[in-house]
């Protein structure tokens, strides 16, 4: 089963290079002052692109818009999903198949299809919200449901929610009491990682914002899309900022995930 050490190392090195080089290229571009064509590296470096980017009110607004939309989406999704995940996993398991269908729908209809359907329904009365941020946020909530649901459902399975619920109820707790005082504090790691994953995915979302509202509401991604053919240095600085934010979110998710799995292992012994 053992392969050659060298080949294994070489394979991993090649794959890593393919994945890392584009990111390093953007990073170098964002801090390069003078970069003569044909030189592998810039001849001098600067932080001015970052300062210019941060100073630009249009960029600030784009970042604020993305953060607000992401935050609203996360909060709304949490409110919708957390009780539902609990109720379906532990009280009405017979609704599990309806749930599965709901979480598969965003996969079967990717952004372009969803936008097509939403525009046809919501461009005329009784509900005329096409082209508004309201529709955008609702579409974001809808595509975030599967991710959040499975994050929380996994957390419920990991803490053995069924046993906890039975124990709480045999002690006389009502279902709301069980949920708020017993279950909720225990699934907070799942809620955190679900929220961060959702936030990161909304921060990177382009299809729906482009097709549902377009340039009227420039989020970070819309701004990048427009700036892609303009000033390369500024765009790369903004790309790096975006990537750093998303990376922080992923690192927290990985750390929380590791802690959860460690706790699980500990509780098994």
């Amino acid at each position: 089963m053992k392969g050659s050490r060298f080949l294994i190392f070489f394979t991993l090195l090649l794959i890593t290079l393919y994945l890392v080089i584009p990111i390093i290229a953007v990073l170098l571009f964002s801090i390069s002052d003078v970069w003569k064509p044909g030189e592998p590296f810039p001849s001098s470096y600067t932080a001015k692109w970052y300062l210019d980017t941060i100073d630009d009110p249009a960029v600030q607004m784009a970042i604020v818009r993305s953060f607000i939309v992401g935050l609203i989406t996360v909060i709304a999704t949490l409110f919708l999903v957390t009780p539902t995940a609990y109720v379906i996993r532990l009280i009405f398991p017979q609704l599990e198949s309806l749930m599965r269908l709901s979480t598969l729908l965003p996969f079967i209809m990717p952004g372009v299809i969803m936008a097509l359907g939403l525009i046809q329904i919501y461009s005329h009365p009784p509900i005329k919200i096409s082209g508004t941020i309201i529709l955008l946020v609702f579409s974001y909530v809808s595509i975030s449901l599967p991710l959040m649901y499975y994050s929380i459902a996994n957390a419920l399975d990991a803490i053995d929610g069924k046993v906890l619920t039975e124990a709480a109820q045999s002690l006389g707790a009502t279902i709301p009491e069980t949920f708020f005082q017993v279950i909720f504090p225990n699934i907070i790691p799942g809620i955190i990682s679900g929220s961060l994953l959702t936030f990161a995915s909304i921060l990177g979302e382009f299809t729906l914002v482009n097709l549902l509202v377009g340039t009227r509401f420039k989020t970070l991604q819309m701004y990048l899309y427009i700036a892609i053919n303009k000033e390369g240095h500024l765009t790369s600085a903004l790309t790096v900022i975006y990537f750093v934010v998303v990376t922080i979110a992923s690192v927290i998710v990985l750390a929380v995930g590791r802690r959860v799995s460690k706790e699980q292992v500990a509780s098994l012994h």
């Binding site: 539902t84 990717p110 952004g111």
Partner: protein, 298 residues
């Protein structure tokens, strides 16, 4: 004694009532979720399905007929399928190599690879298109470096804004996904099995043929299908890279929404249904394969 009994009954009574009320409340508390699902996922799906069979207000198959006889629409499907199959096959092969290599290394290299695949899987869409334009664009860093040091003019053979260029970029987001999906199956391949096969006199090749590949294959096929669907539904990367000039199904759909003055959305509906059918079929195959793959992970 009587007091005690009353208390018992009271407790039972209260518990039962609360349980019922709780259950009713529980049913109410999940209602908003399904209302949102219905309004923003279910209704659009139904709308598109109905719309695809409407032609000037009456039921017909004309939209499908138009698509199946339109060279431009068929070309979009061929391009999308080619790009998806190509990037999925290559992605799955590299994912297998990466997973095998990761399973053979020390734990700290393994951790580094897991972090790298997790982080780079976030790098997709517009930022990814931008990064590749910096590297492989007409005046991209690597394009210029290649011509200066190796006197190799990349753009004699290749442009980033073509099918091969798109495939190169798609591969970037396929590799991390493939690795994340395939890697666990290499854990299912127990060291003991290899040792046992050795003790029974099997060669390395026999081990892989009769044990290794059958155990890993379902996970690889499952991940191939997911990669295929992932590429087929992708829009942002292609749109940002080619500004919508390359003819893909997603780009055609998006165009019918944005550019036309008086769009005939019913034809787009039919296009969407054909695309959704492909996504749905991938999902069915994925679930079948995933069930098989999971057998070995327990």
């Amino acid at each position: 004694m009587i007091d005690q009994k009353n208390q018992d009954i009271g407790w039972l009574f209260r518990w039962k009532i609360f349980k019922l009320q709780g259950k009713f409340g529980a049913l109410i508390s999940i209602l908003p979720f399904f209302v949102v699902v219905f309004c923003f996922l279910g209704l659009p799906a139904i709308m598109i399905l109905f719309g695809s069979f409407l032609d000037h207000g009456s039921f017909s198959l004309a939209n499908y007929q138009k698509i199946l006889t339109s060279r431009y629409d068929l070309q979009a499907f061929i391009n999308s399928i080619w790009l998806s199959v190509f990037s999925a096959i290559l992605g799955a092969v590299i994912g297998v190599l990466a997973s095998y290599a990761i399973s053979q290394t020390t734990s700290w290299i393994r951790s580094i690879m897991i972090v790298i695949t997790n982080l780079t899987s976030n790098f997709a869409g517009v930022p990814l298109a931008f990064a590749f334009a910096i590297l492989f664009g007409m005046n991209g860093t690597l394009t210029v470096l290649l011509s200066k040091f190796l006197h190799f003019n990349l753009y004699d053979h290749f442009t980033l804004y073509s099918a091969t260029g798109l495939a190169l970029v798609y591969l970037y987001f396929q590799i991390p996904l493939a690795t994340i999906l395939i890697f666990p199956s290499f854990y299912g391949l127990k060291k003991e099995w290899f040792e046992a096969s050795k003790n029974l006199g099997a060669t390395d090749w026999q081990f892989w043929k009769y044990i290794g590949i059958p155990v890993i294959a379902p996970a690889v096929i499952a991940s191939f299908v997911i990669l295929f669907a992932n590429a087929f539904g992708a829009y942002a990367t292609a749109q940002a890279l080619t500004t919508g000039t390359y003819n893909l199904v997603t780009i055609r759909l998006a165009r019918s929404l944005v550019s036309e003055v008086n769009p005939n959305l019913n034809r787009a509906d039919a296009l969407a249904i054909l695309m959704a059918t492909i996504m749905f079929s991938s999902l069915v195959v994925y679930q079948k394969m995933n069930q098989r793959a999971r057998r070995w992970l327990k």
